[in-house]
């Protein structure tokens, strides 16, 4: 009996090395443990043994079976691995570049805008918007810019024909429509739409009738800020803008308020910054934004009592900030859409 078992095991061991496929494995199993398999026959022969012989024979058979299972499991694992390899194909070369389309990129002005908006959100400002085609009233009259002000001249501002009607900027009277020259018009729209206290920032595209050069662009972007409440002061203005400058240009950046003039703020200032981390422009005063307290005439034009309410306002140029932050020397890069430029800010 032992010799029968041994020969069955030998058959299995001899065959195992040759087996490549699951079918061959199944055939081997049939030869050994199938209905007429050699091991099956040995086990059947046990029925003829006496009661005394059976336990020893049983042990022998079980030991042989365990060995056989081990052989078959090894073969099965090898066959499975071969099957999976066939399914997956050749192994990969991880050093090859991805054939997919290269990563996309956000425009540097988008990144700058979002960074600035995030800064002002921290200070409780929310985002407001207004139309690019604007009425003369919202863009100038309400902002204390009189009819004979140079900014309103046809040479500086793009106007639309009298026949132009916009559903987004309804005329108050018979004034002209124009392409807004600043986002300050959103101040007006916000004050007309909501009651103070309010704190908003308004990002948006603006237009001036300028010839294009390294620092002028037919359109550009501003972020406008407005805070109207009781008792808003110049100290608040400085608090907000110093925070913005340090968030944008780092804690080393210094600021100063330089007196200036805008029709819609009084007093008016330009804010300059000086920082050691601006490359060629390090360590010198650079103008970054215009600001001031909202002129009482603007509050009144928007239906607010200037003895009750006061406000601060500021407007900064997105291109200007992006140029300083990234060391970009020509505003035209922002609108040329050369990927060699755009990808640098991905």
């Amino acid at each position: 009996m032992q010799s029968q078992l041994d020969s069955a095991l030998k058959e299995a061991a001899d065959a195992a090395g040759q087996i490549r496929t699951r079918a061959e494995l199944e055939a081997l199993k049939a030869r050994l443990v199938g209905p007429n398999g050699s091991l099956t026959l040995v086990m059947r022969g046990m029925a003829a043994l006496s009661k005394e012989e059976r336990p020893a024979a049983g042990k022998m058979v079980n030991a042989a079976k365990a060995q056989l299972d081990e052989i078959l499991a090894t073969v099965s694992a090898r066959v499975e691995q071969a099957e999976l390899a066939a399914l997956l194909g050749p192994t990969i070369d991880p050093s090859l570049a991805s054939p997919d389309v290269a990563s996309g990129s956000l425009h540097p002005l988008t990144r700058t805008r979002e960074r600035i908006l995030a800064t002002f959100r921290k200070l409780g400002f929310v985002i407001a918007e207004g139309p690019e085609v604007e009425t003369e009233w919202h863009c100038f009259d309400a902002l204390n810019t009189p009819a004979d002000h140079p900014a309103r001249d046809m040479q500086d501002t793009f106007y639309l024909p009298k026949s132009f009607r916009s559903i987004d900027a309804l005329r108050k009277g018979d004034e002209d429509l124009l392409l807004r020259t600043h986002t300050s018009s959103v101040q007006v729209r916000t004050m007309l739409a909501r009651k103070p206290p309010l704190r908003i920032v308004a990002p948006g595209r603006c237009f001036r009738r300028d010839a294009v050069d390294a620092t002028h662009s037919a359109n550009f972007h501003q972020v406008e800020g407005l805070w109207v409440d009781r008792h808003v002061t110049l100290a608040d203005l400085r608090g907000v803008l110093d925070f913005f400058v340090k968030e944008t240009f780092g804690p080393e950046a210094e600021t100063r308020l330089r007196p200036s003039f805008f029709p819609f703020t009084e007093p008016s200032f330009e804010m300059d910054i000086r920082s050691p981390n601006l490359g060629r422009l390090s360590d010198r005063w650079l103008e970054v934004l215009g600001c001031g307290l909202v002129d009482p005439k603007v509050l009144e034009a928007c239906g607010l009592d200037a003895t009750e309410w006061s406000g601060l306002a500021f407007g900064l140029g997105l291109e200007r900030i992006a140029m300083l932050v990234h060391g970009i020397d020509d505003i035209r890069h922002f609108y040329a859409n050369d990927l060699r430029f755009l990808r640098q800010f991905a």
Binding site: G124, Y159, F243
Partner: protein
Amino acid sequence: MRVSFQSLERHVDLSGVTPTQVSELLPMLGLEVDSVTTFGLQPIEHLVVGEIRSFEKHPKADRLSVCQVDTGDGVLRQIVCGAKNFKVNDRVPVALPGAILPGNFEIKSSKLRDVDSHGMLCSATELGLPAGEDGLLILTARAPALGTPIHKLFPSPDVVLEVAVTANRGDCLGLRGVAREIAASLGRPLKPLEARAPSGTTDKPSSKDAFGFVKSSSKTCPYYTLRTLRDVKVGPSPDWMRRDLEAAGLRAVNNVVDITNWVMLQTGQPLHAFDAAKVKGGIEVRSARAGETLTLLDGRVLTLDANTCVIADEARPLVLAGVMGGAESGVATTTTDVILESAWFVPGEVRRVARQYTLATDSSQRFARDVDPAGVDLAARLAADLLIEHAGARVVGPAVVVGKAPRSDRTIKLPNGFVAAKLGTPAPEEHVSAVLRRIGFTVHATNTGLEVTVPSFRSDVDRPIDLVEEYIRIHGTAQVPVGRPLAPLPGEEESPAASFVHEVALRLAGAGFSECYHYSLCDVAEVTRVLDAKSSAQLALQNPLTADQTHLRASLIPGLARALQLNLSVHAEPRQLFEVGAVFRPMADGQVRECLSIGFVVLTEAPRRSWKTREPFDLFSAKRLLTGIATAAGVANTRLTWSDVSSGLWQEGHAATLADRGRAAEGACGILDLRWTRTLDIRGSVIAGEILLPRATFISARKSARFEAFSSFPPVTRDIALVVPTSTGAGDVAERLRQAAAKAVGKEIDVEAVTCFDVFSGEGLAPNTRSLAFEITLRHSTRTLTDTEVTAALDQVAAAAAKAGWTVRR
């Protein structure tokens, strides 16, 4: 305005103050300094006049000459020179060995390409003078003696600050105004400025005057004065005056003209001098008669219209009021009697006329910013004094004054505590008074506040808030404390469009698209590619600046297609680009709507080969992106309808439009018109997509999504195949099947999906038909579906399809 440091010293003592300090001080007072330049010449040792006696070409260098130069000391010096603009016997600046030129550049004897050179012949820029013609500074015309130190030929050194004056500060277009600011800041007094000549008193010319009448019939001129001066000797003005004029960038002409200009530079008040002999009858300020002509000092001949104010005699216009004098009535060398005009013109009118005739003059610039009415008389008297002193003139009769000063001093009540409340820090009233007095305001303290009298030269200070600006400007903005921002205001609503714009940009950048920014203005050809001619015309600007930017853009796609072209041409390997921005669309009723547009383009043919080919981006990839964007904007996909496209932008049969009629969202995607993209040198096709969202889409904040419970029982799917006409959209068929299924199964059972999984046309099918196969997924909310009920439902769906005229394939 050019502000010379030496000229400033006529008005304020600047001892111990450097020009650099002044240039740092002025911006903090609100007067920006655009540039700082030197005027005149610093003394430089060993820099003398020399004469080029002869020269020849350098033996080893074509561009160099070897010159023999005489500097008057009896020896000829050999100097190698690279300039070309000289000839023999020209006198030029010679820097001898030992001279130190600006930039600490020391001149030594040396060899240039093996030829000895003992010094350097200098150009204007090498001496720190304003650049003239290229090459050497030729002094021959001045005939200076050989060996003269060069600095003796030029004015004494001075520093000139180019000061940018803001629109509200007309007073600083005179040196005295700038000096007043500096004096206030330094806490020094202004030097007195007084005239001896008497003020004007009468409104009628006397018999001794050179003119018979003076009147003003123009609203542009509410205040007009004239003086007569006889026996004027026209000649050169004194050196100091010429120097001041040249430092300010003006050319010296003759003593009369120079005196009017010099007084203007000091006071900001433009003056005009007529040759009395050329004025016929009298002088009238009036509106021009349409078609009248006027020849200006610069020779230009203007044809005037009735909105133009002129100074005229009985026969003709003499002067474009406040802007420029005429050629015929101006002072010439033969002039003996002068009529001196000093006036106040309405600022906006002068600005308008100057713009209308494109004449920006020193005079118009000042009148347009509002000159000091009190300075009208003072300036004329100062000029009269100078004409007496430097032109031997004699004043005849009293000055004639027509009208009166439109503005004088005014008093503002500044309540106690007002300044502190605006500053956010204490500002004691005594201190406020002291600071305001420094800029020439008169302050009177009362129990309730300060009464501040503002002189007429400050047209911009009217209200308490204006005084706050004056206080902080002079006191110093560094005194403004840094306040602590308050906590956020709760419940403030943010513009939903703003967060959407960022979300969509991140989504597209994440999908491999690069963001572009194009100009909002484009040419008409670009608009007509998107809209018909009539609609295109509605987007035209009234006053475009350039021919390529005449219209508002109607779509982002043309710009993006051009960006593909550009990046292909520079080998930057473009593939997927996008842009987010406003576009403009005329609507049926003629109004124009401003829409937020999101557009993208994809080059289907990769600009570079790859080791592995990917499935190309196609119309359906674009459709998936667009529907995703629409969902993010709050426009549900179920609201969108898709149809064929007909626009010059798209390739017919390979593009589709989408619309949400309710909210007027619209868009399109597909292949861009191939004939067009080929003209952009793009090989292969461009897949593009654009969705336009009107502002109304974003007016209300989006509601939070509400949770809906879902079934825990398994779904059942069944297939149905139909033969339908090719012209019937698969989407429409799916929708019909969905409706039929929903009707068949009732409320308890949900028709989860009807998806098309096979499209086939050709063999075995009738022409113009195709076979569409759909999988219908049903699920019951509270139990497992039975085969019987599903089969029954499918039979009803098949019946509905058959009723629609479609053949159900079994």
